[in-house]
Amino acid sequence: MAIVQPKSLKYRKAAAHVFMLFFLCLIMFPLLMIVAISFRQGNYSVGDVIPKLSTSTLDHWRLALGFDVKKLNRIPGSVVNFVNADDGKVQMYVSTQEDDSFRAFVSDAFDPDDVKKVESLDDAVEVSSDFNVEQIDSEKLADADSAFALCKTLAHKIVVKVGDGDSSARYLIDKNDKDGTSYGIYKETITPPPFPVLRWLWNSVKVAFITSFLIICLSTTSAYAFARMKFAGKNTILNGMLIFQMFPAVLALVAIYALFDKIGEYIPWLGLNTHGGLILSYMGGIALHIWTIKGYFETIDASLEEAAAIDGATPWQAFRLILLPLSVPILAVVFILAFIATVAEVPVASVLLLDMDELTLAVGAQQYLYPQNYLWGDFAAAAVLSGLPITIVFLLAQRWLVGGLTAGGVKG
């Protein structure tokens, strides 16, 4: 700054900085929260802002990205016993009580030395076989203590697989405590992703890209007309567009629904439950973009296009070769704005889209929040995911956000 400033400005400047930092934190806080929730165990909205590493989990993200989540649940009332078999081998007897049905099984005889160290369920050695309660050899059971003592030294988890094919289930047998005085049985439960989140994400990105592109095409051309051409009713149309845009689209949901229902009868790919229809409905919201671009066009001296006309350019050539290249920054801004608005839009999309597979992420993520059960954790992961395309588009578009493009063209 070239202007000489009084001393007191320093403090005011510092105060302003502090205020801005505080404000920034305030703005960033919800984002941090949502990221934290997406890593927290369980589906609760309250808890640590920064989750502890030991308790944090990727489960919500697994679900969001379309992977199964495997979980081990302790089966209460289960008993594990080890029996000595011949040749120093060991057999394992397990009895469980699930849902009032009693199950028990015994393993093949195995050499404790063969049992590998197991880190996760998937690389466990399977030592299982089906087994009937009646088959338990009570004599062998009598010898359980020694086998138990033996197994105590294993210090490994043991995985048991029961049944074949779809009906198979895996049990994990693990020590309940450090010393291995008792063993617990954990049943593996597999949760498939409840919703096609990645598909929703793809829908969002697809719809947003096409919408933004079409919005750019439409609004630049109409802004050109408004900025450069003379026609009757220009101001009325301009103001009218702005005023109509002031009514939120939510208020017109019924009309929109009915409209697209009707359109769908004639042009199926623009009807209800199609992305075409959704994109078409988003096209309606370009009044503000037209104003923005028109304002920018008006800062570009019209003599540039006149010079182009004298150089032999048609109006279209003057628009494409002279005006558009100079307007790249504002086009990038409008593209980003349109993209963000589309990705975040809920009301219209929630009415027009019906199939689970067709939803956009913003609409779909709300499926996690059914009244009986708010799955905040899963919701958070999906929400963070929906910010991803916006961030990428912004980073890509940033290189176009440059100033001074029109410098040097005209004097004054």
Binding site: S303, L304, I310, D311, G312, A313, G408, G409
Partner: protein, 385 residues
């Protein structure tokens, strides 16, 4: 190259709301002429130029270029080149691309484009800047690029709208000479708008003086006079042209005709002085109100033998010494606003503000206008020295 002919051209930007901007403009511009449009700000010079270019439609009348009526021909097909008041260079293109733009649109051969651009750059001294963007050029260089963009197209008519108005004095002189040189080399028809008297007088083959219609909405035409520079200087057809051409402005004194003869006329000024003027005022009556005009540079010392027309005495209000020239602004009482009479002298005069000074008027230096402002024919032209 081509003639440009304007017949009864009228322009009205918005007939519903506005009065005419230009009315009844008749101009016959010969091939190879250098024409300069002058006139006060807002009189429609740019408008007329833009109409010739095809950037504004013509409300009435005909515009012929090269013998063909082009009223409805788009700019690109009129074979004209225009240098804008604001240069209007394409900021996102290099100098080369700027100059090549029109040729590229015409789908001209790449080699030919290169040849033409390099040749034009050579003429204008722009070879070193071909790869630069306009942003990185000085005002004078941008100006030349704008001219170069015209030249490469090889138009038959060049239109310049106040091209030098933003340049500093030295650069302006340099560019003026370059434009004169360019005209000689290209031998094209050039129409040039300027506010600068010197540019107008030195460059023009013919000057076209326009007046704002708003000043007098009844007038038939706001084309005041069209003629060679010295013709306008020596024989302005009316008071407006007389006052507009020449710097400083011509002095006007009110009076009535005292007597007329074949080549002389005696005017009695409002203060009572009698001035003899070499004009043929026989179409007027004795006692008619007239305006006497005399240029500041033609005034002489009261005791000089050139002062054969008479003398007047006024009170000095301001003096200006420019070194080469000396100006005395005086108050003759013919208008309310302070000084209304200017003297330009080659040598320093020994006067102070507040003094009364007597100046001599050569009879051959006088211009005489009737009440409507129309000039009486002069019978002699004053020669200095």
């Amino acid at each position: 190259m081509a003639d440009v002919l304007l017949q009864k051209v009228r322009k009205n930007y918005n007939p519903a709301l506005l009065k005419d901007t230009l009315r009844n403009i008749n101009l016959d511009i010969k091939d190879g002429d250098f024409i300069v449009f002058v006139g006060p700000s807002g009189c429609g010079k740019s408008t007329l130029l833009r109409m010739i270019a095809g950037l504004e439609d013509i409300t009435d009348g005909d515009l012929m270029i090269g013998g063909k009526r082009v009223n409805d021909v788009p700019p690109s097909q009129r074979n004209i080149g225009m240098v804008f008041q604001s240069y209007a260079l394409y900021p996102h293109m290099t100098v080369f691309e700027n100059m090549a733009f029109g040729l590229k649109l015409k789908k001209m051969d790449k080699e030919e484009i290169r040849r033409r651009v390099v040749q034009a750059a050579d003429v204008l001294g722009l070879e070193a800047f071909l790869e630069r963007k306009p942003k990185a050029l000085s005002g004078g260089q941008r100006q030349r690029v704008a001219i170069g963009r015209c030249i490469v197209q090889n138009p038959s008519v060049f239109l310049f709208d106040e091209p030098l108005s933003n340049l500093d004095a030295a650069l302006r002189v340099k560019m003026r000479l370059e434009i004169a040189k360019l005209h000689r080399e290209l031998n094209a028809t050039i129409i040039y708008v300027t506010h600068d008297q010197v540019e107008a007088m030195t460059l023009a083959d013919k000057i076209c003086v326009l007046s704002p219609l708003a000043m007098n909405p009844q007038t038939e035409s706001n084309l005041e006079q069209f003629g060679a520079p010295l013709e306008l200087y020596n024989h302005p057809v009316n008071k407006f042209v007389a006052g507009f051409i020449g710097s400083p402005k011509m002095n006007f004194l009110n009076g009535v005709i005292e007597s007329v003869s074949e080549d002389k006329c005696v005017v009695k000024l409002s203060e009572g002085e009698l001035i003899t003027a070499c004009v043929d005022a026989r179409r007027a009556q004795v006692g008619d109100k007239v305006t006497l005009g005399v240029r500041p540079e033609h005034l002489v010392k009261a005791d000089s033998d050139k002062a054969d027309g008479g003398k007047i005495t006024c009170k000095v209000s301001v003096t200006e010494n420019l070194g080469a020239e000396f100006f005395v602004y005086m108050d003759c009482g013919s208008s309310e606003v302070g000084s209304d009479f200017t003297v330009k002298s080659d040598c320093e005069l020994d006067v102070r503000p507040g003094d009364n000074m007597e100046v001599g008027i050569p009879s051959t230096a006088c211009y005489l206008f009737d009440e409507e402002g129309k000039a009486f024919p002069r019978t002699a032209v004053y020669k200095r020295s």
